[in-house]
């Protein structure tokens, strides 16, 4: 079982490696994004020491680490699943003695690990050289961040799965998938940290799974949380990891019954 999943991760990693040139341009795009947000936030702070519970220096680090984390947890699982169900190639997955969704998750992990090694790590070094990013000195913070990053990946992938399966019930899923991407980037705190939203919106966002993807791990990384606050953040992440499984299972059962494979 584990050997099989390890093999799936390995093969996806190798496949990604074969197309690695596509990723060099990706690093540049992420660096430009980080640069743009860095200058934007510098203008917003305009010499002020503290805004939305974060110092200007923390903000710079937040922007850098949130984008670099995105390089790891981002994937196209929604599109993969939607395409495979639509064009019927899901059929060749269903004749295998494994869980389709678990295998998809493992493929996404293979892709994520590739991005982590080939993209996130070198990107972080580059960004640390270009901008005044302050990396945490405490190894415990790095440890917590690594754990939370893994959970971010799981939550984001689960949301992608739900989106991919939902597309199955719509005439065209393109709009839904684009909307999901924007919603996740905005409401996860990648573009604007949750602390900058009005109080009522913070309440709403706190009850949604998106903040667990970017905001929670990034605030731990920049030192905005300590002690029991960190446990609480990890707890929220774990809660969503488990809670999202139920709608996925229901949607999958529903999709299986309505599955229609082209060809006779």
């Amino acid at each position: 079982m584990i050997a099989m999943y390890a093999e799936i991760i390995r093969i996806r990693f190798l496949t990604m490696l074969a197309y690695r040139v596509n990723y060099y341009s990706g690093i540049l795009i992420y660096a430009i994004n980080i640069g743009a947000y860095y200058f934007l936030w510098r203008a917003i702070y305009a010499g002020q020491e503290r805004l939305g519970g974060m110092t200007a220096a923390q903000m710079t680090t937040y922007v850098a680490v949130a984008w670099m984390a995105r390089a790891f947890y981002f994937n196209n699982l929604d599109r993969d699943i939607a395409t495979e169900i639509r064009d019927g190639s899901v059929a060749v997955q269903l004749i295998r003695p494994y869980s389709y969704l678990a295998v998809k998750m493992m493929q996404a992990l293979g892709e994520g690990l590739f991005r982590l090694v080939m993209f996130m790590a070198p990107g972080m070094v580059l960004v640390a050289l270009l901008f005044p990013v302050r990396l945490p000195a405490d190894p415990a913070v790095w440890g917590w961040f690594a754990l939370m990053l893994a959970l971010s990946f799981v939550i984001n992938s689960e949301i992608n799965m739900l989106t991919g399966l939902a597309v199955f019930f719509l005439e065209s899923g393109e709009g839904l998938m684009r909307m999901k991407r924007v919603v996740v980037d905005l409401l996860s705190g990648l573009m604007i940290p949750i602390g900058f939203f009005p109080a009522w919106a913070q309440g709403v966002l706190g009850a949604l799974p998106f903040q667990a993807i970017a905001y929670l791990p990034a605030t731990v990384f920049v030192g905005g949380r300590a002690g029991s606050d960190v446990y609480a953040a990890v707890g929220v992440q774990l809660f969503w990891c488990v809670a999202l499984l139920l709608p996925i299972a229901l949607m999958w059962r529903w999709a299986r019954r309505r599955l229609f494979v082209q060809g006779g």
Partner: protein, 375 residues
């Protein structure tokens, strides 16, 4: 249920809901808020059994419901109603345990990983099916030898020809020694040599390992080479289930010899030339004529050619083999005698022949109408 039965299907149905678009701008707006659906019955209640070690052909025109049936038998689709048991499992309910006991090949869909070497795909499949390393080695060597995979193993799948790929697909489906093999159009698009290789391999495997095979095809020669029994499907219903010989004897469309002349030709003259050959002449146009010869009569083709070949002005001669579509058409044209659906292999009363015969009744007229429209 009988241990001897590998595949059991009873009153198996599959219905799809297909969205129907309204016309015009107003219609499109209304579609946004409430979509209407058409129900399409792809498989309309089929019942049959396949015994262990049998090679059974499952044939019919496009859209007859062949692939949908295969997909229900392999656990991919959930039936709308009816019973299905293969190898003692209910495929859609016990999918993961069940698929370990079967092999599936889709002629039109690769199940190998496109970008990596064939051997990498096989290694992954070894882990997926948890085949012990020693067994895997032995099985791989055996399949490599019998399918001639040798130098193909280290090439990426996208660099293989269709025939080479299909041999690899077969090996991939057989690494875990399944007792039942489903083949959906396994020879589609292959050249004559590749088709022959695959048929030979399948026959030998059936003989040596007793593997049960259910295959769909459009190619009557596949059926002729492999199957002792055919199940013919149309409009989601079984219209014939029995031996191939009987099918051909009754409805075999025979072979057509099509001759193209460089000048107009009189049919009467050709009829006179071939008076002692059982050929029925017709004209496609004034220069192209067609002689239909009864099925399974190899001698008369050569006799016919011998008579006609001396005649001046022949541009081209083609021999056209009937395919399954022709036979379906022929069945409808000549009507379906009672009991046709309960022939040969199922004479032991295993299949619910009554239901299938009922299903076929009443359809011929409809089909004739379609033919008339086309003509």
């Amino acid at each position: 249920m009988d241990q001897d039965v590998a595949i059991y299907a009873h009153e198996l149905r599959k219905e799809f809901r297909v969205p129907r678009n309204r016309e015009g701008l107003w219609g499109a707006l209304r579609d946004l808020f409430g979509r209407r659906h058409d129900r399409i019955e792809a498989v309309a209640g089929v019942s049959f059994q396949v015994r262990r070690g049998e090679i059974c052909g499952y044939i019919g025109e496009n859209g007859a419901g062949k692939s949908t049936t295969i997909k229900m038998l392999t656990g991919i689709l959930v039936p709308t109603s009816g019973e299905v048991v293969v190898n003692g499992f209910v495929p859609y309910r016990q999918r993961q345990a069940y698929v370990r006991t079967i092999g599936v090949v889709f002629g039109q869909r690769s199940q190998l990983w496109w970008d990596i070497g064939v051997i990498e795909s096989f290694r992954l499949l070894r882990k997926v099916y948890r085949v012990p390393e020693a067994d895997f080695r032995r099985r791989l060597d055996e399949l490599t030898e019998r399918l001639g995979l040798g130098e193909l193993l280290h090439r990426p799948v996208r660099k293989l020809s269709l025939g080479q790929r299909m041999r690899c697909e077969l090996a991939a489906a057989l690494l875990h020694r399944p007792s039942v093999l489903f083949l959906d159009e396994p020879t589609i698009g292959l050249d004559v040599v590749a088709k022959a290789e695959i048929r030979e391999f399948l026959l030998e495997m059936n003989r040596r390992d007793g593997t049960t095979i259910l295959l769909t095809t459009h190619d009557l020669q596949d059926i002729e080479a492999l199957c002792s029994r055919v199940i013919m499907l149309d409009g989601g219903r079984i219209i014939y289930d029995g031996g191939l010989d009987e099918l051909k004897a009754r409805w075999g469309a025979g072979r057509d010899v099509v001759i193209h002349f460089d000048r107009p030709v009189a049919l009467a003259e050709l009829r006179a030339l071939t008076a002692d050959v059982p050929a029925v002449w017709s004209a496609d146009d004034e220069r192209t004529v067609r002689a239909r010869l009864p099925a399974g009569d190899g001698a008369s083709v050569s006799e016919l050619l011998a008579r006609v070949a001396g005649r001046p002005g022949i541009r081209d001669i083609r021999i056209v083999e009937p395919n399954t579509d022709d036979i379906v058409r022929e069945i409808y044209r000549t009507g379906m005698p009672d009991g046709a659906a309960t022939g040969g292999a199922t004479a032991d009363g295993a299949s619910a022949g009554g239901a299938t015969a009922d299903g076929a009744a009443g359809e011929p007229d409809q089909r004739r109408e379609q033919e008339a429209v086309r003509a």
